[in-house]
């Protein structure tokens, strides 16, 4: 516990950028992919399997020199609904934000219906969010509803 605190202190020393906290540990790499962090040049540090009262184990990502638009960051809401953002300027937290599940989702999730066209051709999936808690997504193509239990990240 003590060690982890030290680690946090060490990596939070970014001058300006964004810290994304309270990511479920098992979804860290999905979050990285969804936000395209694997394709940018910014300095990024992350920690995972950190203890969390809320989540059991959590992950944290710190991206230097990057500020996310709401549309960008809300994409992770499906897999990290409790994620919290700390916006850092001049080494200080200047703003805190939470994520919100958008009304429409493109890509990210696979339609659970094996007979859906999106599972047979190279098509970007598209869903309308018909319920946020628990999550239920209606496929724009086959019109079937993918529930929270069937949800699979592409």
């Amino acid at each position: 516990m003590k060690d982890q605190k030290k680690l946090k202190l060490k990596v939070s020393a970014i001058k300006a950028g964004t810290v994304i906290d309270h990511i479920p540990a098992q979804n860290l790499f999905n979050v990285i992919t969804i936000l395209g962090l694997n394709k940018i040049e910014n300095q990024i540090t992350f920690g995972t399997n950190l203890e969390s009262d809320k989540l059991g184990t959590k992950a944290i990502i710190k991206v230097s020199g990057k500020f996310f638009l709401d549309d960008e960051i809300n994409k992770i809401a499906l897999i990290a609904p409790h994620a919290k953002l700390n916006i850092i300027n001049d080494y200080k937290v200047t703003e805190k934000r939470v994520v919100e599940i958008p009304n429409e989702i493109q890509g990210i999730v696979k339609c659970f219906n094996p007979k859906c066209i999106t599972n047979h051709e190279a098509i970007v999936t598209k869903f309308t969010v018909i319920s946020k808690e628990p999550t239920a997504l209606k496929c724009h193509y086959c019109e079937k509803i993918t529930g929270h239990e069937q949800m699979q990240i592409i």
Partner: protein
């Protein structure tokens, strides 16, 4: 903006009524030349003789020409061509695409890829909107109205896309009542009940197929398919429960009509056929007029 017909909910109530009005016109005078000089692609990636002949008759009566295929075996699909590429190519040739495909959502996708309008002639278990419109036309023709009707749906209400779409369409009209008669395994899905509750529409669920049908204005029969049951014993138990026999029609209302999307197996006993309340064969003929109306509306011909 091109006008596709993919799901029954793509149309507003006004459009349903517009199709009804046009269909009545085509019934009076089915042979018109409004499609002359136009090419319609009829792409049946899975065979459906009934639907294909109905569409192709409609196109022919409007004076259009037809290109296409009757099953995927005689198309480039066998060479591994994607739906995307087939539609891209065909939309360069034709003025309208009528498409049947075994995969769900294929029609919506085709409409996005295509430059010309797409009419969905069935995409897997998802949607078959022209069937619903011909059902509506049949109901209107036999009842003189689409308001204040008591609709009984019988059989496979879980997987039957025709009952789902008809429910969605009828719920746009004034004061309908729905009665659902189905075995436990094949009851109407929760999402449709939710839709009815939200709209404040009355509905009742029954297991027994009894004289409750005496209140019906329309009895909409569907097939109970063996492959829907995980347990074959369950199928054996219910397969003979939901059969409509002539005797059961004795005390039904005079205006009542029996509809069925066809083909039937054993769910309507042949002794019903001679009863004037049996409407399923006329219903199929209405399909041609309704499809003429849908094509004319889609292509903005009248």
């Amino acid at each position: 903006m091109k006008k596709d017909l993919i799901s029954i909910t793509d149309y507003t109530k006004d459009e349903y009524l517009r199709i009804m009005e046009l269909a009545a016109g085509f019934e009076k005078n089915p042979n018109r030349d409004i499609l002359q000089g136009k090419v319609v692609a009829s792409l049946f990636f899975e065979p459906s003789t009934r639907t294909r002949l109905s569409f192709e008759t409609a196109i022919s009566r409007l004076g259009g020409r037809i290109i296409g295929f009757a099953d995927a075996g005689s198309s480039s699909v066998t060479k591994g061509e994607t739906l995307h590429d087939t539609i891209k190519m065909v939309s360069n040739y034709a003025d309208l695409i009528v498409m049947r495909h075994p995969l769900e959502g294929s029609a919506r996708y085709a409409a996005e890829v295509s430059e010309v309008p797409v009419i969905n002639a069935g995409d897997g278990a998802n949607q078959h909107p022209t069937q619903t419109l011909l059902d509506l036309y049949s109901i209107l023709k036999t009842q003189g109205t689409l308001d204040n009707l008591n609709i009984f749906m019988v059989g496979d209400l879980k997987y039957g896309r025709t009952v789902h779409s008809l429910l969605m369409a009828m719920s746009e009209f004034e004061n309908p009542i729905f009665n659902f008669i189905a075995p436990e395994e094949l009851m109407i899905p929760e999402e449709y009940k939710m839709h009815l509750r939200e709209k404040g529409i009355r509905f009742y669920e029954h297991r027994e197929f009894t004289d409750i049908i005496n209140d019906a204005d329309i009895i909409y029969m569907t097939r109970v398919q063996k492959e829907r049951f995980s347990d074959p014993i369950e199928y054996e138990k219910v397969k003979n429960v939901y059969i409509l026999r002539n005797k059961m029609l004795e005390k039904t209302k005079a205006n009542m009509r029996v509809l069925h999307p066809l083909p039937r197996v054993n769910e309507i006993h042949p002794d019903v056929d001679a009863n004037q309340k049996a409407y399923y064969f006329d219903q199929a003929l209405n399909g041609v007029f309704t499809r003429e109306a849908i094509i004319a509306h889609t292509m903005k011909l009248i």
